[in-house]
Amino acid sequence: MPIGRKLLTIAIVLAALAAMNQIIEYGVGDFRINPYYARIISLVGINITLAVSLNLINGLAGQFSIGHAGFMAVGGYAATYLTVYHGAAIAATVGGTPMQGVGSLVVMTASLVTGAVAAGLAGLVVGIPSLRLKGDYLAIVTLGFGEIIRVIILNIPAVGGATGFTAALPITNIFWIYAVAVLTIVIVRNITQSTFGRALGAIRSDEIAAEAMGVATTRYKVLAFVISAALAGVAGGLWGQLFANPLNPQNLNFVKSIEVIVMIVLGGIGSITGAVLGATTLTILPEALRTFDQQFPGLRMVLYALLLILLMIFRPDGIMGRRELSLAWFRRRGGGPGQPGTRVAPLATAGTATRSTRDEGDG
């Protein structure tokens, strides 16, 4: 895409996000959206970022990580810490406050970048030793990592310990949440369509063959893991500043990690579209089922579990499988012809044909 068109696309997306922000956060004319729905829309956006970023390591690279909530916690606390303790100073450099206008823009950017860097570094520390190994080690290490982070946070008074980070400022809004979600989708999509993405696919498919083709497997796994962790950190930064006291170590435990895994499995592991669908469905579904709780308290979670089981029975590969929703679906498929004048190896084409006919005959 030429630079001009690319900038135009970015401008249109930002304008759309700003309009969406205006409608959902402040309303238009007399129309006000139910704050409960607005909250769900916010959570959908954050969960999309979490699911799409986890999909990079679990789906694309095929490495099973169950510590996404841990990276979310690292990023969330780091980002919120920056806003709470240095937000006013940062906003003052542009002559504003953290809660409004340009001041909030600068503070939010600084805070989300801090969250990304902190979580990315944590990913590097966890990834380097555990990704050298093949198999289930990453799952075990990331599981332990999540718990370690939780216990560490419980013991840091500056971020509230067990009572949660009550000083957090609610500066996250729909604009930021969906800007990050769109950015995450674009980053992961661009990775899948690159040398890096194919190297990750090769690792998932066959590590020995990937190495034989020159893929530095450990390096690529660590890189994918760090990018995935950093994006989870940004999601954490958004979540941590979404309302007054969201950051509590108990909210970001093992259960949250599993929730994100269920999202990508439900959507179709390895598919970005699937991760988006899975995150959306699994955020809305438990809320939509609340009506059942009025007659039969507790029925909601039973139905929720039942729906997941049914889906896994009838669509074991998830909603999308490995496929993506893309414009290419509507274009004609098929390989183009080889370049004219290509010198062709002497082949067993005749032999292969004989073979397959014979196989059919025998079969």
Partner: protein, 259 residues
């Protein structure tokens, strides 16, 4: 330090590999001259696959050294060895199962692309140009092997013989100097084997390669290899032209047993 004989591309010197108490390869010496079609044969369990794994860095030698293109390969990881120009196929085909035929070949061009992750993420012009070049080259390689019509099919849906050809195309996509073929004729009928011999010879000439071949099918080995090295129980028992090897009493003994 460089390899003493300059025309020797691959120089295996006194390589021994032990697995616990078992010595799979004993004091192996192999000199493969650039541009040759070299055959490595031996009865079952002779250590041929271990030699392949030593050459590609899957195992490190317990003793001895491997030199390739004037470089000492000791302690290099498989991907580094691929970087220096050794590509291989596998005895039990190892294609990237959940990729298409085209993607398999594109993936193997990994070493030829700049691998700029930043470029990929922002979708720069350089990235798009490189993607296009990678795709074109992959299609070109598929066309050479008569697979271009199947480019968008899942790799594992191909018939067996085509999967073997795809594996060779994928190995060539890394632009190697030395191609290692691990039993390329395994599971092929006589007709396919004959065509495979022509293909291997043609590849060597067209891509100016050196090819090292492990093969059970004697017709194939004797038909195309210029030099043959025979190992048995991890030890070299003979080296020479096909005619020499066929007449060598130690080789006959190893294959047929005595009396």
């Amino acid at each position: 330090m460089a390899s003493p004989v300059s025309s020797v591309l691959l120089d295996v010197r006194e390589v021994t590999r032990r697995f616990g108490g078992l010595t799979a390869v004993k004091h192996l010496n192999l000199q493969v001259a650039a541009g040759t079609l070299y055959g490595l044969i031996g009865p079952n369990g002779a250590g041929k696959t271990t030699v392949f794994n030593l050459l590609t860095g899957v195992y490190a030698p317990s003793e001895g050294d491997i030199w390739f293109d004037g470089r000492r390969m000791h302690g290099q990881r498989p991907w580094q060895i691929a970087t220096h120009g050794i590509a291989r196929t596998f005895q039990n085909i190892r294609l990237f199962a959940d990729m298409t035929v085209l993607e398999n070949v594109m993936t193997a061009q990994h070493l030829r692309t700049s691998q700029m992750i930043g470029d990929a993420i922002i979708g720069s012009r350089r990235h798009h140009r490189e993607e296009r070049e990678t795709r074109d080259r992959a299609r070109h390689l598929l066309a050479i092997f008569g697979l271009e019509a199947l480019a968008d099919e899942p790799a594992t849906s191909l018939p067996y013989g085509s999967q073997r050809r795809l594996e060779i195309a994928r190995a060539l996509a890394t632009s190697p100097k030395l191609l290692l073929l691990d039993e390329p004729a395994a599971g092929m009928n006589p007709q396919e084997s004959v065509a495979l011999m022509d293909t291997i010879r043609w590849i060597r000439d067209e891509f100016s390669l050196t090819i090292l071949l492990v093969e059970h099918n004697m017709k194939v080995v004797m038909g195309i290899c210029e030099t043959i090295h025979v190992i048995d129980h991890g030890e070299s028992i003979a080296t020479g032209s096909p005619a020499d090897i066929q007449a060598n009493p130690r080789v006959i003994e190893a294959y047929l047993g005595v009396g």
